[in-house]
């Protein structure tokens, strides 16, 4: 999927001086910061324990709705749990899944890309066959199968994301390695007695950092939506852990009767994803990166 984003955002489409994007970027960074602060200080912000049901106040509407009270500013869910507290705690999982999933994926991908590009030959062929295998299987199917088979936990989800999502990173890094391998300074470093691999990592990593960051940003956004989709299919993170995806999935049966159950986590997911995608666009323009095509 990330491949598509690289294409989608184009190459060198605009210059640094694009003030419009910078303005958007500031807003996006602002939103992201708020979410990160929310995740870190969840325990201080949330008025209630997020999994504690208030059995007398089930399906209480938000305060601005008729029948809403200040006791539950954003209302309660179908088990009487405070929506605000759940949304605040939910930011943790969204960010954890997104960021750690991408970190695992980019580490695996970078390592494999370096090995494939540097060693070449049979090793490269085998690794690229693995990449092509993973690319040939629709990812959603792969996620569903793996999680249905191995059960669901946050750690597992992050590992699975890492193990499936690394291919884009690997291809970018490998491409970069191949293009840099032939250059003179690698030969030169050999001449002055430096080991080529050390030189390469020193030269390559800064070069691929840009594309990796861009892909990573897009990936985080995709993963947050993925978590919601998996929850919809009953394959999300274990309760009582609160996730926006599960809130949205549970709330889908209440869309007509208690809109806030699905709408509020939906807004959160959309806001976070929007800011990440816009941020990715902006980063792409700033870093003026090329795709791996």
């Amino acid at each position: 999927m990330a491949d598509i984003h690289i294409l989608a955002t184009g190459r060198a489409s605009s210059r640094l001086a694009d003030l419009r994007l910078s303005g958007v970027a500031i807003v996006c960074i602002g939103i992201l910061t708020i979410f990160i602060l929310m995740a870190i200080f969840a325990a201080f912000i949330a008025p209630y324990e997020p999994s504690l049901p208030d059995l007398r106040a089930r399906l209480a509407p938000p305060v601005w709705n008729e029948g809403g009270t200040m006791a539950h500013i954003l209302g309660t869910d179908h088990l009487g749990r405070d929506m605000l507290s759940r949304l605040v705690y939910g930011s943790r999982i969204a960010l954890l899944v997104g960021f750690f999933g991408v970190i695992v994926a980019s580490l695996i991908g970078t390592a494999i890309g370096l090995i494939a590009g540097f060693v070449g030959g049979a090793v490269d062929s085998v690794l690229m066959a693995v990449v092509n295998t993973l690319l040939a299987v629709p990812n959603t199917l792969l996620y569903i199968t793996v999680l249905a088979v191995f059960g669901q936990s946050l750690t597992l989800l992050i590992i699975v994301i890492g193990c499936i999502n690394w291919t884009t990173f690997a291809r970018v890094v490998r491409g970069e390695v191949l293009s840099i391998k032939q250059r003179e300074f690698i030969e030169a470093s050999r001449a002055i007695g430096q080991r080529p691999i050390v030189t390469m990592i020193r030269h390559i990593l800064p070069n691929v950092l840009g594309p990796i960051i861009v892909i990573a940003t897009m990936n985080v956004a995709m993963l947050i939506i993925l978590e919601a989709t998996l929850s919809f299919l009953g394959l999300g993170v274990q309760p009582p852990t609160v996730t926006w995806g599960r809130m949205l999935a549970d709330g889908r049966d209440y869309v007509a009767t208690a809109w806030w159950l699905a709408a509020l986590p939906g807004v959160m997911i959309t806001l976070l994803t929007l800011s990440l995608i816009f941020l990715g666009d902006w980063l792409r323009d700033r870093l003026d990166t090329r795709s791996d095509q």
Partner: protein, 306 residues
């Protein structure tokens, strides 16, 4: 060119082999269809009996070898969810429904993205561009099941304009097509917009502009023609993904295609069907990317395949 095609097809073999191994291992490692078939009421003895009858008590590598030798003879096994119907047939009979849905989604995506991207590029940095960019990102940022449920609520129930679900009623494909096409429309708009902008910065367009050609003529006659290639590439690749990726949409709209089949098959541990779906979609994905690459080099002779 012929050599290139042959080489590409040969390259598919190890990949397909990898796909079968991956899927086989995933499905065999845990989750046993036997207990599911027997239900909560079964006795432990029955479970053991049936497992032996289905050959599931054999060592993994023996099962895999027998599976692969069947596969090479074109035998995908039988569906345990559907009383031993051939798995391949169970999958193939779903292709038309999924193709119809994917076609509709593609239609929606093109109809939205083509004008949206042109408008955004033409009025770059102005209000129409903001709106188009925002909407295209929104299309991607909304989980598709949620969007689907909202569509049902608004157009199916409240307004009663379109059928809520299923495949048989006239117009039934519209809502699931919209739900599935929205995110693709977002991707395509963003792609085409930046690709248009890129072309517009190139020298020959500057020349055209300097010659005093009307901007609209430039956009349609020169810029669009040069951007359309990458647009078509993505469409090709995404269509392949749509074929198997419609899991959520088909579930929401009770659309009897491959997505609905595969999610049920996974839940029932109907291994033969899951394997058939994944192998088939892998073939479709690879074939599409091959066709796209060939078309690419036919359209644009600059691309060489060594």
């Amino acid at each position: 060119m012929t050599n290139y095609i042959i080489r590409r097809i040969l390259q598919m073999i190890p990949v397909l082999f990898g796909v079968t191994l991956l899927v086989f291992l995933l499905l065999r490692v845990s989750g046993d269809p036997v207990q599911l078939m027997l239900g909560e009421d079964a006795t432990a003895e029955q479970v053991a009996q049936l497992r032996a009858a289905m050959g599931l008590d054999r060592p993994l590598h023996v099962q895999y070898i027998s599976y692969m030798s069947d596969l090479l003879r074109g035998d995908f096994g039988t569906s345990i969810r559907y009383n031993n119907q051939p798995a391949l047939q169970v999958v193939l009979e779903r292709l038309p429904a999924t193709a119809q849905l994917a076609g509709m989604a593609l239609f929606v995506a093109i109809v939205i993205s083509l004008p949206a991207a042109i408008i955004a590029a033409y009025w770059r940095g102005r209000i129409p561009d903001y709106i188009a960019s925002f909407l295209s990102v929104l299309g991607q940022a909304m989980p598709s099941f949620w969007f689907g449920i909202m569509l049902i609520l608004i157009f199916g129930i409240t307004l009663s304009w379109l059928p809520v679900s299923g495949q048989d009623q006239p117009g039934a494909v519209i809502l699931p097509g919209l739900a599935l096409g929205a995110s693709l429309a977002g991707v395509l708009t963003r792609l085409l917009r930046s690709s248009l902008l890129e072309v517009m910065n190139q020298d020959f367009i500057r020349t055209a502009r300097a010659k005093g050609l009307h901007p609209r003529t430039i956009i349609f006659r020169h810029v669009l023609r040069n951007s359309i290639l990458s647009y078509l590439t993505v469409i090709g690749l995404e269509t392949a993904a749509l074929m198997a990726g419609a899991v959520v949409t088909e579930q929401v709209f009770a659309w009897p295609g491959i997505g609905l089949l595969v999610i049920q098959a996974i839940n029932f541990r109907d291994m033969a069907v899951v394997q058939a779906v994944i192998i088939l979609s892998a073939i479709i994905v690879m074939m599409t990317s091959l066709i796209v690459d060939i078309l690419y080099s036919l359209i644009d002779p600059r691309i060489q395949h060594g």
